[in-house]
């Protein structure tokens, strides 16, 4: 009944609208402003304030802890951001108009390219102190986590089922009670899932953001990332493997102790009214549930939580029906403010870029972007060609799928940049062409998204359809073309979107690699940004990042989103 309506809705959303442009300009403008404000603050840190990093493996637990702490600090910030930004965007019509395209843009901007600016900014806030560096690292992680979490929460807030909304209004829940009793629980499964994805992205960034080069200055915060950076400088491959091992353990521990239980627990909030198959509790959750002391403590905490969230707090009521004229006036004022900010951003960008760049630079960046685009495209095709058959094979065998699925998710969470050094060593040793052989590094960490999504899709493929296909003896290529591929398409597209987005980001660290004094660079936009960063050429960094954002946005809007809309429409019966 609503199928034709959704078609229209998607068609409308597919076109980038004026708000997207405005949001993009605002983001870039603000970042440029931060960067130019911070440019004058490149005072060298007295290096003594930091303990020197050593390559002794016994120091790794301490470094791992420091790295993990940064992760969770950023996660806390991301949750705070999610719980404030998303409700605001969902509840205020005007705020939503600008905040949602803003999120969409921020999701596509390769934040790694801006690491230099944000570092400069935070060090400007706390000159000469480690705190600035720490905050910069945490902020970098935050920027890799917050957007998709906020977006997921926003989407949940805007799709609250109508009857539950009416029930909670009918029973006169206050805003506070409604938030904790209806909105947060409803959003929980999506939020937990996105937090998990965010953590994976975060590991990648934490490694990249601990060892920071700003022009001629080079700092290393104690952590696994710095350890690896030092190992690279000193050509110590053993240390690299020690670091990989440490990271493996850290991720295993956080995965088992935190995320498996969280995901299992959040299944309780899934909005379904029929009893589904309940998976077995992960051991940690079972432990929590069965251990008496822990359970009592948990119940006490739950009760306290219930009491606080049940408090009848509410914001002062607004007059319900405001006169139309006043609302229109408000719209005009709001519109004027947005226009002013956009105009200021445009001015700032033009002024900044025109200082040092010409049209030729833009051409170069676009061309390099095209090369990187080609890389991403080829990688996606290769990854699909390998992992789709594997994923389908595994997904159709539940016993295998159960065993492999956690492994694939685990691999996706592993920061692939830690795995770069062994590859680089090989490339250097065999004198391979960087333009070709650095490329696979981009997809090293992201290909797993394709695998585990395809496994999930194949596992969810309806049994009766499989039986029907077998009954009509559909086999070979026809089976792939007509039966399984259309069936898993939505899942594949979901995985491919994440994988390709991640690959763009990875390009910044994957197109340039070094081993001791040997420096390998491929041609591409990622290398362009990385080189500009090393050289302290901020104009080129801005240009590179803007061009990359444009490429990512264009891919999302022109390829992935229509494909996803098509896939989900085709694959849902009725």
């Amino acid at each position: 009944m609503s199928s034709t309506a959704t078609t229209a809705g998607i068609a409308v959303r597919r076109l980038p609208n004026i708000w997207d442009v405005a949001a993009l300009l605002c983001v870039v403008g603000a970042l440029v402003a931060v960067a130019s404000a911070a440019r004058g603050t490149f005072v060298p840190l007295t290096a003594l304030e930091q303990a020197a990093i050593g390559l002794d493996p016994w120091r790794l637990p301490e470094y791992a802890l420091r790295t993990t702490m940064r992760m969770f600090a950023a996660l806390a910030a991301s949750l705070l951001f999610t719980f404030t930004f998303a409700p605001l965007a969902a509840k205020s019509r005007r705020a939503g108009l600008i905040m949602i395209p803003l999120l969409d843009i921020l999701q596509s901007v390769p934040i790694l390219g801006f690491l230099t600016f944000t570092t400069a900014f935070f060090m400007g806030l706390f000159p000469g102190r480690v705190l600035g560096l720490e905050l910069a690292a945490i902020f970098a992680i935050f920027t890799s986590q917050a957007w998709n979490m906020a977006f997921s929460f926003y989407q949940s807030l805007t799709t609250i089922p109508g009857d539950l909304d009416e029930a909670s209004r009918g029973f006169r829940l206050t805003g506070w009670q409604r938030f904790w009793r209806l909105e947060v629980p409803f959003a929980m499964p999506g939020l937990v899932w996105n937090t998990m994805l965010s953590m994976s992205a975060g590991w990648f960034f934490v490694v990249a953001s601990e060892a920071i080069t700003l022009g001629d200055n080079n700092w290393k915060l104690p952590g696994i990332g710095s350890y690896v950076a030092l190992a690279l400088e000193q050509k110590d491959i053993h240390a690299v493997f020690w670091a990989i091992l440490a990271m493996l353990l850290v991720i295993l521990v956080y995965d088992q102790l935190l995320f498996r239980p969280l995901v299992a627990w959040s299944a309780k909030f899934r909005f379904e009214t029929t009893a589904g198959v309940t998976a077995e509790d992960p051991w940690m959750l079972a432990l929590l549930r069965r251990t008496h002391v822990l359970r009592v403590a948990g119940e006490a905490m739950g009760q306290a939580f219930g009491t606080v969230t049940g408090l009848p707090w509410s914001l002062p009521k607004r007059a319900t029906a405001r006169p139309r004229a006043r609302r229109r006036l408000g719209d005009i004022v709001f519109g004027a403010v947005v226009v002013a900010v956009v105009a200021w951003s445009v001015g700032k960008i033009v002024e900044y870029v025109a200082e040092a760049l010409s049209w030729a630079d833009l051409g170069t960046a676009m061309l390099l972007g095209a090369i990187t685009l080609l890389r991403v495209a080829v990688l996606m095709v290769l990854a699909a060609a390998i992992w789709v058959p594997v994923g389908v094979w595994l997904g159709l065998r539940p016993a295998w799928a159960r065993r492999v699925q956690p492994v694939a998710q685990f691999l996706a969470a592993f920061p692939a940049n830690l795995l770069f050094p062994p590859f680089v060593v090989l490339i250097v040793a065999f004198r391979l062409t960087p333009d070709i052989w650095l490329t696979p590094l981009m997809v090293l960490g992201t290909q797993w998204y394709i695998l585990f999504n395809v496994i999930a899709g194949a596992a969810a493929f309806p049994g009766d359809l499989r039986e029907a296909a077998a009954n009509f003896r559909v086999g070979g290529l026809l089976w792939w073309r007509r039966v399984i591929l259309p069936g898993i398409l939505p899942y594949f597209v979901t995985g491919a979107i994440t994988a390709s987005g991640g690959s763009w980001n990875a390009a910044i660290v994957a197109e340039v690699a070094s081993w001791g004094d040997t420096r390998l660079a491929a041609h591409g936009l990622g290398a362009y940004i990385a080189n500009a960063t090393d050289a302290g050429n901020f104009h080129q960094v801005v240009l590179g990042v803007v061009v990359m954002s444009l490429y990512v946005l264009a891919c999302n809007r022109l390829i992935w989103r229509p494909l996803y809309a098509y896939a989900s429409r085709r694959a849902t019966p009725g």
């Binding site: 034709t4 009918g170 009670q177």
Partner: protein
């Protein structure tokens, strides 16, 4: 009963009107000038077809929706938003899947700030009253539909509302479960065990209304309004097989199928000629053909009493009436005074083979559904014989709510496809005229 008339009304609805503002056209009126009152101690049913505004009225009474004009007085004070002392039971149950039965029931009390101990005590009482004892720690998804609706009832009763609102509370349940729940509720009501003073319920099930209510307000559509008010004179427990009960059901069917007087304003008929003002129910052509065959065959031989037909087909009035209306629109038959009658074209259709049926259907569509002609003409004029459906949807939305526009377009698409007058491509949301020379 007369004594209640002198008492102040528990609830009063005064001149309520609900309309959606349209930029281009006149407002779409969903509910026109509704007046009603509710006394303590009575169960009142709002009975009508879908789209007659009865659910809208229920939401206005509950304070979930503000009327465009008019007011609702609850215990003498105007209703400004969800009011204390009014609780609602939902058709879809609206239980929170992440809360247990106990927690769901406690929700309303929690919102009132009732302390924990009292909350638990009252919730347990309500749960026991409604026959859910032992299920306190279960989650909704572990329960059957009937049990879930019991939770919905307990959740509403626990706040001790003066007025209980029920929005088609039994229509999502199977026949047996619904009947058990109805009788349980009526028993509790008669034994005065329910902490409520009055019930206002929406239903499209005529028998349900006669079985439960003391008073029935029958709604008419276009715009939604109260067409008539009936007092049900039977004492509880009522017997569905009692001839007087049957007669009342028959009378209400007759009332609901009575031809509405032709709309007077010329502006409306003008719009009607273009076909954009007629709401259509999406009725499957298969079901329609099945109904025509059934009617043509014995024992009906072309004419059937609606309640009897509904009973033998196991359909509710709400499902059967749109079918009858479709017959009428296509001039295959007529609805009159609670009967449905097949005409000559209808009889021919019943005996015809598939191709002839399609031809008959196509002819009927072109003759009696103007919108089909509009689409067909547009397609013929276009060089590529394609036209975007969004254009017709927009035009329909000028005359009806978006939901109705969608439903109407859905009907047009499905009927047009069956008649092979045009086809429709869901992917591009376009109507297409393929080479259908046979039917052109």
């Amino acid at each position: 009963m007369d004594a209640t008339a002198t008492k102040p009304a528990l609830l009063e609805v005064r001149a309520c009107r609900q309309a959606y503002h349209k930029e281009s056209n006149a407002d779409l009126v969903v509910l026109e000038d509704v007046n009603m009152s509710l006394q303590a101690g009575e169960i009142v049913g709002l009975l009508g077809r879908s789209g007659s505004g009865k659910s809208t009225l229920l939401r206005i009474v509950s304070g979930l929706l503000r009327p465009t004009s008019g007011e609702v007085l609850w215990r003498g004070a105007p209703v400004q938003g969800p009011a204390e002392g009014i609780a609602m039971v939902f058709q879809s149950f609206a239980l929170f899947p992440w809360l247990t039965v106990q927690e769901n029931v406690e929700l309303g009390l929690e919102a009132q700030g009732v302390p924990r101990e009292e909350r638990e005590k009252r919730a347990e009482e309500a749960i026991d009253l409604i026959g859910l004892g032992g299920y306190e720690s279960a989650y909704p998804k572990e329960l059957s539909g009937g049990m879930r609706q019991r939770v919905g009832l307990a959740r509403a009763l626990v706040v001790h509302p003066g007025l209980l609102l029920m929005d088609e509370p039994f229509s999502a349940l199977d026949v047996l479960t619904a009947e058990t729940l109805r009788t349980d509720l009526i028993d509790l009501w008669m034994e005065r065990k329910l902490p409520i003073e009055s019930i206002l319920m929406v239903t499209h099930n005529i028998e349900e209304a006669v079985l439960m209510c003391d008073r029935i307000l029958v709604f008419a559509s276009n715009p939604g309004r109260v067409a008539s008010e009936l007092r049900v004179p039977f004492r509880h427990p009522r017997n569905r097989l009692d001839p007087a009960f049957r007669q009342m059901v028959d009378d209400i069917y007759a009332l609901m199928t009575r031809r509405a007087p032709k709309p007077v304003p010329s502006l409306q008929t003008l719009a009607d000629r273009s076909g954009f003002a007629t709401k259509l129910h999406h009725v499957s052509t298969n079901v329609l053909a099945g109904l025509i065959e059934t009617l043509a065959a014995p024992p009906y031989d072309g004419r059937a009493d609606l309640p009897a037909l509904a009973a033998s087909l196991q359909m509710e009035a709400d499902e059967l009436l749109p079918l009858g209306e479709a017959l009428q629109i296509l001039h295959f038959g007529e609805l009159e005074e609670g009967d449905v009658r097949l005409n000559e074209t209808g009889r021919t259709f019943a005996l015809a083979d598939t191709d002839t049926r399609k031809a008959l259907f196509a002819a009927a569509l072109r003759a009696h559904v103007p919108l089909v002609n509009v689409i067909r003409h547009t397609l013929e004029e276009r060089w590529n014989h394609r036209a975007a459906a969004v254009r017709f949807r927009d035009e329909l939305e000028d005359h009806m709510s978006p939901d109705w526009a969608e439903e109407t377009l859905h009907a047009i698409i499905s009927w047009g496809r069956y008649a092979e007058l045009f086809s429709y491509d869901e992917e591009s949301d376009q109507f297409i005229l393929e080479d259908m020379d046979a039917t052109a």
